[in-house]
Amino acid sequence: MVNLERRDLDLKVSMKSKNNKSLKLKNPLVTASGTCGNGKELAEFFDINQLGAFTTKGITVKSQSGNKTPRIAETSAGILNSIGLENPGVDSFITDILPETKDYTLPILANISGYSKQDFITLAEKLEGKEELAGIEVNLSCPNIKGGGMVFGTDSEKVFEITKKVREIYSGYIIVKLTPNITNITETALAAEEAGADAAAMINTLSAMKIDIDRQKPLLANTFGGLSGPAVKPVAVKMVYDCYKKLNIPILGLGGVRSGADVIEFMLAGATSVGIGTINMIEPAAGLRIIKEIENYMLKHQIQKLSSIIGAAH
């Protein structure tokens, strides 16, 4: 057996879709939307071009100032957030934020959120053809205002409909980001695939809350929030594992990743790329450490091509 050294390792992954679209990443690490700003804050800590891809903070049609504070709470091995999609709106995103990403050499994904089908159509239209973007990530975890507040992502038909519309408009790479607050995530994942999504991302945050027992009121001003961080990882890994068996498009797995071992776990479950969210908030250069840890694992197990382990736990 040849003894592999660090320089022999190949961390590249290719998110090849059924539509013959592909997102090629130098390694599987993708920043998770909303946890990494729009790049420049992290760039003060390290060269973010070393990551696989960067996902921007979620954008909506109009600017939003987000929910009232407190918007963050800590829980056991997790955090709750109720940021409420604070963002300057898609037009300002295009004029102010996109140009700033020009200097980056890694693929940039725009995360889009909407409260109606029309919102998603508008966002897809405005982003179509934007060369700075490698693709878009369609976040289906917002409440469907017209549909009575239920989240789009919990309804396979809505997932299908919106994905299909976006697919008709947007010619780049489309990732559909799914919510875990659902009985069976393979159904929404399949709906996204059938409607033409190039990849499925899972998971967004789990619905949750914390109560301040001294004030006897919910701690978050918004009452509810989304749970992320290490606490949710076992739930996320299971969802990736379940979907891997059913899907024919690649999966971007995320939820609670904080180490190279976690990335490997998601890949073994079936993820082609892996998102890093909450950990960046605690350790801005976590991505670099994680890449090193992945390499160490590859050396220990003498794995030359990281992509060879995708789905290997099945």
Partner: protein, 259 residues
């Protein structure tokens, strides 16, 4: 790399933490903070860092000091760490107090742990020959002793108030300030509970006094990526500002306070 060199109780549940560093990305300024991971290397509990304002800074000794109060799990864990412990610390972070007050009359108004960031500020202001008046309040005198001692090493007039006992007066730092305020100061700096800041701001604006406040906002990242710490502004465009990047120091009247 940061190492604990002092972590001792200096008041009821109030600790002084002194850290020695190898190097810093930039020189800390008054009003900035550091974000400290209080859990040890192998533990994720607690997960988030804890932000603390700079109480004092001594570049010759590569030493930065904090005063913190034990209020929950994170500060409790911190209070049990021993000298020599290595800490994972990010900073200095945030925007500092402005410092162009040469020879001016300055009021510092601090309530509770809000006094902590005012000391390093006062040291700098003293160097600018500012005419310093310091108004400090706390629930109990015992919480002020340490601070009184420190501030009295500076060239400054010190006034104290507590809720439990008549000092300069009996009451809050705000009461104290209002009571003692004679001349309109050129500039004020204030830090403390948000309700107090709101009241200070109201009085100041009423009297056309300008100045800055430092606010404590729950933070996720402390580096501007998560928008947990957004503050509504009163500026024209109403664009939110992040307490961890554009703050924690804001001008009087800049952000909406929960009064």
């Amino acid at each position: 790399m940061f190492k604990i060199i002092t972590n001792e109780e200096v008041g009821p549940d109030i600790f002084k933490l002194a850290l020695k560093y190898d190097q810093l990305p930039q020189k800390p300024e008054p009003g900035q903070f550091f974000n400290i991971k209080v859990s040890q290397e192998l533990s994720d509990d607690p997960l988030l860092r804890r932000p603390f304002s700079i109480f004092d800074f001594k570049s010759e000794e590569k030493r930065v000091e904090f005063i913190y109060k034990v209020v929950g799990k994170g500060t409790k864990i911190l209070s049990k760490l021993k000298n020599g412990t290595e800490l994972d610390v990010l900073g200095p972070l945030g925007s500092p107090f402005s410092l162009n007050n040469m020879n001016k009359e300055i009021n510092l108004i601090g309530g509770g742990m809000g006094i902590a960031p005012l000391f390093y500020l006062a040291k700098k202001l003293e160097k600018q020959n500012a005419d310093l008046k310091v108004y400090l309040g706390a629930a109990d005198k015992s919480e002020l002793n340490f601070f009184e001692n420190k501030f009295s090493q500076l060239k400054a007039d010190i006034y104290l108030a507590s809720m439990s006992e008549e000092l300069t007066i009996k009451g809050t730092a705000l009461d104290l300030w209002l009571k003692k305020l004679k001349n309109k100061p050129d500039f004020i700096y204030s830090c403390g509970p948000e309700k107090m800041l709101a009241a200070v701001e109201k009085e100041a604006l009423k009297n056309n006094i300008i100045g800055e406040i430092s606010i404590e906002k729950r933070m996720g990242c402390g580096i501007g990526v998560c928008l947990s710490c957004s503050c509504e502004t009163k500026t024209e465009d109403k664009k939110n500002k992040r307490a961890c990047v554009e703050g924690p120091v804001f001008e009087l009247g800049e952000v909406v306070l929960d009064g």
